[in-house]
Structure formats: structure tokens, C-alpha cells
């Protein structure tokens, strides 16, 4: 038994550097593995319930169906796919992969609210953003100073020794060390200022050759940007620190000047002016500090995180990846639909041919013979009553046999009991006609009504074929038919304890039924080891 999943044309390669999605359909499945149909796409909401008819109002009691049947009760179509229904190829990035770049406005609100004016401007000296910036500058000054000194030294050594071979590895090492340091700095800014800077991706070629990798590190713009940040960030932080200690201290001193003016040689007439200057300074330094912090954060975003262009590229890449996943899924689905449709049309065509042949070879021939018999009887009626009676007798038998044949044929086209009484009753009828004792196990007959008419019909015909095979070939002494509806999937099992070894050869009855089931997005699995009985399992979504 071979897999029915077609191998679609491979999707175009994803952009370099991205994880190639493991497309489930392109992986060759083992020839012995049972077929796994690609997961169907969810049915669009609002799909009408097939076969649902409106209930007739004012129907007298006797004319109402005794039981709910799929033909008379509008069945609810569940539009949600079954759990685990969505396919996401392995390695596909999650939807939240790159944080979109924060706009200046976003950062403004977080680290420099005073610049937005209004109440925040008045609150600047006591605002949380101001004091967060003070703590950031205090800590950052020492950290960046240390980092800068170390990096500049390392860079200096590397360049000095570049002539000798040892400089190049040192430079590579420096650039590599800059990465975790950048991570540390991003974490610090996040902790102290509350800004979230997403980590960038580094160019790391996967080629095994060492020098290629080293070259990759050397030509990686991000790592160099980290080095640049160490210096530029240090500059900004020094400015912030000066603002806080010099301008902030001066403003404080001027505001409280009246308290110790006596100990200085400043004339008292100047005091009001100095106090005003102090008060103005009290508002100026937080404003300036917040502005510098905003500059710092933008700098960090550009040099420690993604550059703006790269972020856009990354977002585009994720979108493209998602689109490609959808496209390849759609392609798999399209191939599957084309296949099942072709086979369905073929199966329907075969069925029509079979019906035509049965009618032609059976009922039609019999009726012709009947005409002949009746003609003979008519001619003989006057002269030879005995012969006429014999001919009529023959004709009568002929008619009864024709009727029996037509009855079986019509039942094979569509069983009335399925429409009138639902799948449970139809399965019982099949079991009753089977020469091997069959147990029908339907734990919840009412639930089967949730399955659509096509699903029920498919289940019925699969059972009919399976039981025919059980009676003819299996040698089993008993068989079991089990039908359940769970998670809006109709599951049918026909199990026998016979000799096994059954196959669904192309062109066989089971093969035709498989395409019938697959058209409904269902699966048909045949498990029949030689000497180990046969288990036929069919699963069809209820909404078909």
C-alpha cells in the first residue's frame, strides 16, 4: 500500500539565512506507511449544512419523522478545524519573531515624557522618567567607560598587530566579545529605562571553514556597530552625567542660596535673581536629561538592536515566509483536491457504467425474455392452453426474479433506510443481511446525525463493501462494525478476526471507496496483516 500524498513541486528556496521550513509534503514517506492526507484547510464560516432542509410547519403528528434523520434536521456545521488542524512547517518563525521597531514617539512617551509638553513638563523635576534617567546615567557611565576602554584597547592591539597574524584572531575575538556585552547593555537599558530593544541576528555563515567564519564575523556590520555604540554611548552618558551633577547641582545651590548668602560676598540685592535662575535651572536640567536619554535610546536601538532597514527586511522576510508556507500548503491542498476530484469523477463514472451494465445485462434481458414468453402464451392461449399456462408460469417466475434483482440494484445505488432512519439503522440492516454474524456497536446513535449525508453514505458503502469482503474472503466467524462521532469526525471501524492479507488494489471496490472517502477530506486505512485479521478504519469530517 503506497502513500496517496502526492509530492508537489518543491517550493522555491527560502531566503538565505532563514531556516528552511520542513515541508511535510516534500518528505518522501515510506512505501509501507499508511497514507496521511494533508490536513484540510478549515472550512470557511457560514458554509451551509449540506442536505439540511427546512422543517415543515403544521405537519400532523404521524407525518413527522420518528427519529432525527440527517435529511430532515438541519445539522450544525462546525467551522472550527479539528484540534491540531493547522500545519506550521517546522522551523517556521512564530508570528511574533521580530519586534517591530519602536517609533520615536513611542520612546518619547517612555523616556522623555516632559518633551511632550503639558502636565509632564511641569512634573519634569519629580517625574519617574527623570530619575530613571539619572540612575541610568550613574550606572551607565562606569559600565560604558570600562567597556569602551577594554574594547578600544583590544581594537588598538588588533590593528597594531594586524601586520602579524595574531591581530586578526584578536580582532575577531573582540567583535565576538562585543555581542554579549551588547546583550548586557540591552538588558540594562530595559531594566533601568523600560525600553525593549530586540536582539539582532548576526551573520554567521554555516560553512565549516574557519576562515570563512572569521571573515563573516569581520564583515558583520552589527558587531562593528556595537563597538561604535561603546564610544558614542559613552559620550552621551558623560553628557548626561555632567548635566545631572553640574547643572542639577548648580540649580539646587541657587534655589537654596538665600540660606547661606551671608557667608558669601554676593550682594543681597542679587539674591532674587539667582533664585529665579536656580528655579529655571531646576526645570532645564531634567528636560535636557530626558532629551539626551531619548537620544541615547535611539542610538542604542540603531547600534545594539536592528537597524531600521534590517527590521523592515526581517518583518518582510517573516511575512514572505508565512505567505510561502500558506502558498505551499495551498499547493499541497490543490494537488490533493485535483487528485481526489479526478478520482471521484472516475469513480462516479465507473458507478454509472456498472449500473448501466447491471440494468442492461439483468433487468433488460429478463424483460425481453418475458416479452417473448408472454408472446408465446398469447399465441398459444387459444389452441394450446397447457403450453400457454406453462409459458405464463415461466413468465411469472421471470418477473419475480427481475423484481428481486432490481431491488438489490436500487439498494446498492442508495439505501432507503439510510435516508429514513439514519446511519445506525442502515448499519444494522447491512449487518442483518451479512451471512457472517456481525455485531453493530454504536454507543451513541443520536450523535451520528451530526455527520453529513455524504459522510454517512460513504460510511455505509464502506461497511457494505467491507462486510461483503468479510463474508467472501476473510473466513472470519464474526465481525464488528463500530461507528462514533468525536470532535466532529465520523469514525467507522469494521473489524474481523479472519485470515487477513486484504489489500485495496487499484480498481478494487475498496480503492473506489477510498477515493470516495478522500473527496470528503477523509481517510481510509486498511490494516490487514496475513493471518492477523482485518481492521478497516474510515474517518470523515462531519461537515461533508
Amino acid at each position: 500500500m503506497t502513500s496517496d500524498v502526492p509530492a508537489p513541486t518543491p517550493a522555491p528556496a527560502p531566503p538565505s539565512g532563514a531556516d528552511a521550513p520542513a515541508d511535510p509534503a516534500t518528505e518522501p514517506s515510506a512505501a509501507s506507511a499508511p497514507p496521511t492526507a494533508p490536513t484540510p484547510a478549515p472550512i470557511p464560516a457560514g458554509a451551509p449544512a449540506a442536505g439540511a432542509t427546512t422543517a415543515v410547519q403544521g405537519v400532523p403528528a404521524y407525518a413527522r419523522p420518528a427519529l432525527a434523520t440527517p435529511g430532515s434536521t438541519p445539522t450544525a456545521v462546525l467551522t472550527a478545524p479539528a484540534p491540531g488542524g493547522g500545519v506550521r512547517p517546522a522551523g517556521a518563525p512564530a508570528a511574533s519573531a521580530p519586534a517591530p521597531t519602536q517609533s520615536v514617539d513611542d520612546d518619547l512617551r517612555v523616556v522623555a515624557p516632559a518633551l511632550t509638553g503639558g502636565r509632564e513638563l511641569l512634573r519634569a523635576p519629580v517625574s519617574a522618567a527623570t530619575w530613571r534617567a539619572v540612575s541610568q546615567a550613574t550606572v551607565g557611565l562606569w559600565l560604558l567607560l570600562g567597556a569602551s576602554i577594554a574594547l578600544v584597547l583590544a581594537l588598538g592591539f588588533s590593528i597594531a598587530f594586524a601586520v602579524l597574524v595574531v591581530g586578526i584572531p584578536l580582532l575577531v575575538l573582540t567583535l565576538l566579545v562585543a555581542r554579549p556585552l551588547a546583550g548586557l547593555e540591552r538588558s540594562r537599558l530595559h531594566a533601568q529605562l523600560g525600553v525593549d530593544i530586540p536582539a539582532p541576528e548576526y551573520r554567521s555563515p554555516v560553512q565549516a571553514r574557519l576562515w570563512r567564519r572569521a571573515w563573516g564575523v569581520l564583515t558583520d556590520v552589527r558587531s562593528w556597530a556595537h563597538l561604535a555604540y561603546a564610544l558614542l554611548g559613552l559620550g552621551v552618558t558623560v553628557l548626561q552625567a555632567l548635566l545631572v551633577w553640574v547643572l542639577g547641582g548648580f540649580a539646587l545651590a541657587m534655589v537654596f542660596f538665600p540660606l547661606y548668602v551671608a557667608s558669601t560676598d554676593v550682594p543681597v540685592s542679587r539674591v532674587p535673581f539667582l533664585v529665579v535662575v536656580g528655579l529655571v535651572g531646576t526645570w532645564v536640567w531634567p528636560l535636557a536629561l530626558q532629551a539626551l536619554t531619548l537620544l541615547h535610546v535611539r542610538l542604542a536601538r540603531g547600534l545594539l538592536g536592528w537597524p531600521r532597514s534590517a527590521a523592515a527586511v526581517q518583518a518582510a522576510r517573516v511575512a514572505a515566509q508565512a505567505a510561502q508556507d500558506r502558498a505551499s500548503q495551498a499547493e499541497v491542498r490543490a494537488v490533493q483536491l485535483r487528485e481526489t476530484r479526478t478520482r471521484a469523477v472516475g469513480t462516479a463514472e465507473d458507478d454509472r457504467r456498472r449500473i448501466e451494465r447491471d440494468l442492461h445485462d439483468g433487468a433488460q434481458q429478463r424483460l425481453v425474455a418475458l416479452g417473448v414468453e408472454l408472446g408465446v402464451a398469447k399465441r398459444a392461449a387459444a389452441q394450446d392452453p397447457v403450453a400457454a399456462a406453462a409459458a405464463l408460469d415461466h413468465a411469472h417466475r421471470e418477473v419475480k426474479e427481475t423484481l428481486a434483482e432490481l431491488r438489490d440494484l436500487v439498494r446498492g445505488i442508495h439505501p432507503a433506510v439510510l435516508t429514513d432512519r439514519g446511519l445506525d439503522a442502515a448499519l444494522s440492516a447491512l449487518a442483518a443481511r451479512c451471512t457472517v454474524p456481525v455485531t453493530v456497536d454504536v454507543p451513541d446513535p443520536a450523535s451520528l446525525a451530526a455527520a453529513g449525508p455524504s459522510a454517512q453514505a460513504a460510511a455505509y458503502f464502506v461497511t457494505a463493501e467491507a462486510l461483503t469482503n468479510v463474508a467472501r474472503h476473510s473466513g472470519a466467524r464474526t465481525a464488528t462494525v463500530r461507528a462514533t462521532v468525536r470532535d466532529s469526525v465520523l469514525r467507522l471501524e469494521v473489524v474481523d478476526g479472519g485470515r487477513g492479507g486484504a489489500t485495496a488494489r487499484p480498481g478494487s471496490g475498496l480503492d473506489g471507496l477510498r477515493s470516495r472517502v478522500e473527496v470528503l477530506d477523509g481517510t481510509l486505512t486498511l490494516d490487514s496483516p496475513v493471518g492477523g485479521g482485518t481492521r478497516l478504519t474510515v474517518e470523515v469530517p462531519c461537515a461533508s
Binding site: P65, V410, V417, A425, R433
Partner: protein, 222 residues
Amino acid sequence: MRIVIAEDSVLLLDGLTRLLEAEGHEVTGHKTADELVAAMSRADALPDLLVTDVRMPPSHTDEGLRAAVHLRSIHKRLPVLVLSQYVEQRYAAELFAGDVRALGYVLKDRVADVDEFLDVVGRVAGGGTVIDPEVVAQLLARGRRAGLDALTARERDVLGLMAEGRSNAAIAERLVIGLGAVEKHVTSILTKLDLAPDGDDHRRVLAVLRWLEHAPTGGDRP
């Protein structure tokens, strides 16, 4: 007898009417179940027999069967003969759920066997129970139930005929054996299947049917 027929096929209605009128019955025909029920509710006297098809307009599912069950629930004593293109045990179970006197359920094809059909008409109108051999065959096909294995081939034949609602005399005639032999077989069957020995034909039919439908299947689980 006064016979009412509900049958949507004009050809068959016509054929049945002529057949029964030739036998000296008085026949009224209806083409839908609604028409039938309406006519029955207007009628001053019940007919001696109601013959109804299962599938009729408007929905062509089972309104004939439902009309029959409905009318039987109102008129307990109304003899009803249901004709069907298919006989399935599920329909039979619905029809024979209550009292089984004067109730018949046979394949439409049996009409072609005029003598047998007239016999069925007579038996149902006379208060008998008739179940199509096809239904019995279906029930027996589930076959090798615990207990059935214990029956001899001849006893199994007798059981089938019992399930069709035939009297001992009819079974004797059918199998070309003496009445005493039939009685012996019946007693043996009832004993083997653990059914109450009961002289009443109808209750006997019912017991046999119930047993066939619900007896546990035998055979070892492989």
C-alpha cells in the same frame, strides 16, 4: 370486505384494486398518507383492512409506515397490511412494537404472487400476524446465535415460518409434515430457546421476533 388502499403509483393502485375487486372486495384508493388519514378520520365505520405503501408523496420517505403506526394507535383493532419496496428489520421493529394482531409487513414484490398475496390479505384481515420471509431471513442471517446452533435444520425451518406468523397448520402444510410433528418441533424450539410455551400465535410470533432481534450473538471472539 371493505378494503382501503394507500398507494401513490397509479399502475399498482389500479392493479391491486382490480385484483381485490375480482375477489369480491369493496376497494377505496388514496394516493397520499395525508389523504388516507383525513379519509379515515371522516369515515363513520372502519374498513376491514387497510393496505398501505411505505413511500408516498410529499417526502417519499416513510410516511405510509408512520401513518399506519398512527392509525393503529388510534384504532387498536384496525387490520393493517404494510407493503414496502424494501423490508428492513428496523421498520419491522417500529411497526411491531405494540400489539401484533391483524398486522402485516411484506415486500411489494409479493403482490406478483397473487395467490400468496390474497392469502396474506385474508390472514391479516382475520387478525393474524404476517412478517415477510425476507425480514426473518435477515434476522436469521445474523445466524449462529447462542441457542440457534442447538436447533436441527428442520427446527430452524419451523422457527423461520413461526417468525413469519404462520399457524401450526400452515407450517405443517408448507413443510409437508403432520401437525403433530410440527407441534413437537415447536415445543422443542421453545424449550431450546428458553421461550415461554404459549398457545397464542401472536404472542409466539412476538417472542420469536424479540428473541431473533436481541439474542446475544454467539461464536468465540478471536
